[in-house]
């Protein structure tokens, strides 16, 4: 009841504050409907707590249970992941990594490939890190090695993938090996093509000189960082959870199993899914788990490798740094390689 009252007060406060700020009509309308619905809901609930169960179909009830299950399973991992990422951004000096990278190109690639172990930030947090690395003098092609491997080869992603696939540990191995290979191949390809043309955008090249101002690690700044990452991840997670649950509840079983058991189509379906839902790599294993029983193992691995490297949200973020031809080449090559990886896994298992 306390929560109900609080949320009522909160919604009311929101609407009044919205009035002041001249929210456009549609959004005001949506909020009003929400507020009225929740008040009506509250009223029905206070009369009879079981009324909802009869109102809500069994299918909707299960849909809700599944959605919340993804959310509840993943939220603690999100909090942990974002907290660690914020701590690193607060306390690790920005050029520390660059100063400690070896000069030998192969050794440097190897170190960059596994540097995610020390920097467990998820993919959106990685773009700023990669930017600062380039600004500090790392070659743009090598920044891609970091950008692609760090979201996968890091402790949080490792723990959540192992936890999700306890019954099938080989998925974890495939995911990590696949990420290492694909990231290095794609980075080399871009490096090769980039010999004759620029890789980073003009705007970013200009920013590179000016961008560096280090913040003092204050509570407010830390919270600011936490807010930005936490919220980006949480809202994507909400959408991902709804999609995962809906595909389990509303799409007929026959359709799901016929696509999922098809060696070729299942990979295509999972990669498209990874591209559109843009779920964070720290928790995408729980999402993939939804499909683990119906989809081929290869398609699950493709999803887990492709998703952290390329998706709508990441492309939007990376557009600020890399030129269009780089984005197109990396999307194409990561797609082809993840697809091949999926086929190999399907063939081997």
């Amino acid at each position: 009841m306390l929560i109900l009252t609080l949320s009522g007060v909160f919604l009311f406060g929101m609407i009044t504050s919205v009035e002041k700020n001249k929210l456009n009509h549609l959004k005001k309308y949506v909020l009003l409907v929400l507020a009225i619905t929740s008040l009506a809901g509250w009223w029905i609930y206070s009369m009879s707590p079981t009324a909802w169960e009869n109102l809500l179909g069994a299918r909707m009830q299960d849909f809700l249970t599944l959605t919340l299950s993804v959310l509840i399973e993943a939220l603690p991992f999100v909090i942990l992941g974002v907290t660690i990422s914020v701590l690193i951004q607060l306390f690790l000096p920005p050029n520390w990594i660059l100063n400690h990278l070896p000069k030998n190109i192969y050794l440097r690639r190897i170190i960059l490939s596994v540097s995610g172990i020390a920097l467990p930030v998820c993919e959106c947090g990685n773009v700023p890190v990669a930017r600062s690395l380039i600004a500090k003098g790392l070659s743009p092609a090598e920044s891609l090695v970091f950008l692609f491997t760090a979201p996968i080869i890091n402790p949080i992603t490792y723990i959540s993938t192992v936890e999700a696939f306890r019954l099938d540990p080989s998925i974890v191995a495939w995911r990590f090996a696949g990420a290492l290979i694909i990231a290095n191949v794609v980075a080399s390809l871009i490096g090769y093509l980039g010999r004759s043309r620029p890789i980073v955008t003009e705007e970013f090249a200009a920013v590179c000189e000016a961008d560096e101002h280090h913040h003092r690690p204050t509570l407010r700044y830390g919270l600011d960082l936490f807010y930005r990452e936490f919220w980006t991840v949480l809202r994507m997670l909400g959408l991902g959870a709804v999609i995962a649950a809906a595909s389990q509840t509303f799409i007929p079983r026959e359709v799901v199993t016929s696509i999922g058991s098809h060696g070729f189509l299942s990979i295509l379906a999972m990669i498209s899914l990874a591209f559109t839902i843009s779920i964070c790599s720290n928790v995408d294993a729980f999402f993939a788990l939804t499909y683990a029983r119906t989809f081929t193992s290869g398609s699950i691995v493709s999803f887990l490798v492709f998703g952290p490297m390329i998706d709508i949200k990441l492309l939007a973020l990376m557009k600020s740094t890399y030129r269009p031809w780089v984005l197109a080449t990396m999307t194409g090559s990561v797609f082809v390689l993840s697809f091949l990886l999926g086929l190999v896994v399907n063939y081997v298992r």
Binding site: D62, L75, R253, V256
Partner: protein, 243 residues
């Protein structure tokens, strides 16, 4: 448009309510409707920590925001925010419930499940529904179970794509290895005359009877002597990995 401060306040509040929801479920012993119990402690600790952070963030967002955001941070109330708000309203108004027939219809009943606790098949004493299903379908010599007394708990399930038989229905249980999305269905057919007038679908029952071999289509079933309604068990799912 919201101003940035209000929007931040809203976002912190959403995080706050979600964390408090996890804590509430934990206090009411209902987390296991969603996730495997081995996560309970971790989930509760992180939720408490998240609650603290979101609380502080909420309070501090009331003060003038420190302008660390560069221009790129586009902040506006969107569809994704709406999804989370609707989900939060659902958590407030709708009682948590375990998965039942609606999801069961979406899953195929698993017959060959691997339960980690079942290595030694010979000395194995099946107790739960899932144990029994495993014992019957994976034993090289299932005949040894013929005539054995069975005492199992599950919910009443009639598959949507099967014709209703007057004296045959299924008792079902979900098995979870990580969280509810990976729940797999395990069923055992029971023979119980005129079940439709005596058992309500999706209700939890305790069934006692004997195991017997029958026709070719469904090689085994439990001939039920008793089927009594029970309250929903504390752990509605069974778990593949020991807690």
């Amino acid at each position: 448009m919201f101003d940035k401060r209000t929007l931040r306040g809203l976002h912190w509040a959403i995080g706050f309510i979600l964390c408090s929801y996890i804590l509430r479920l934990g206090l009411q012993n209902q987390l296991n409707l969603y996730i495997h119990p081995r996560y309970n402690l971790f989930a509760l600790c992180m939720a408490a920590f998240g609650l603290l952070l979101c609380g502080v963030g909420l309070i501090m967002s009331r003060q003038q925001p420190h302008s660390h955001d560069h221009k790129k941070a586009k902040e506006h109330f969107g569809f994704l925010d709406l999804i989370l708000i609707v989900l939060i309203l659902c958590t407030i108004f709708i009682e948590p419930k375990p998965l039942l027939s609606a999801t069961a219809d979406q899953r195929k009943s698993q017959k060959y499940i691997s339960a980690t606790s079942l290595q030694a098949a010979t000395s194995f004493q099946p107790k739960s529904l899932i144990d029994w299903s495993y014992a019957i379908y994976s034993s090289p010599n299932p005949a040894i179970y013929n005539g054995r007394e069975v005492d199992i708990i599950g919910f009443v399930y009639q598959p949507k794509d099967q014709q209703v038989a007057p004296d045959k229905v299924y008792i079902a249980r979900f098995q979870v290895s990580c969280c509810a999305v990976d729940a797999s269905l395990v069923t055992i057919p029971i023979s119980y005359p005129a079940w439709e007038s005596r058992l309500k679908r999706d209700s939890w029952v305790r069934v006692r009877g004997t195991l017997s071999a029958i026709d070719d289509e469904e090689p085994w079933q439990v001939v039920a002597t008793h089927a009594d309604y029970i309250t929903q068990p504390q752990d509605p799912y069974e778990y593949t990995i020991p807690q």
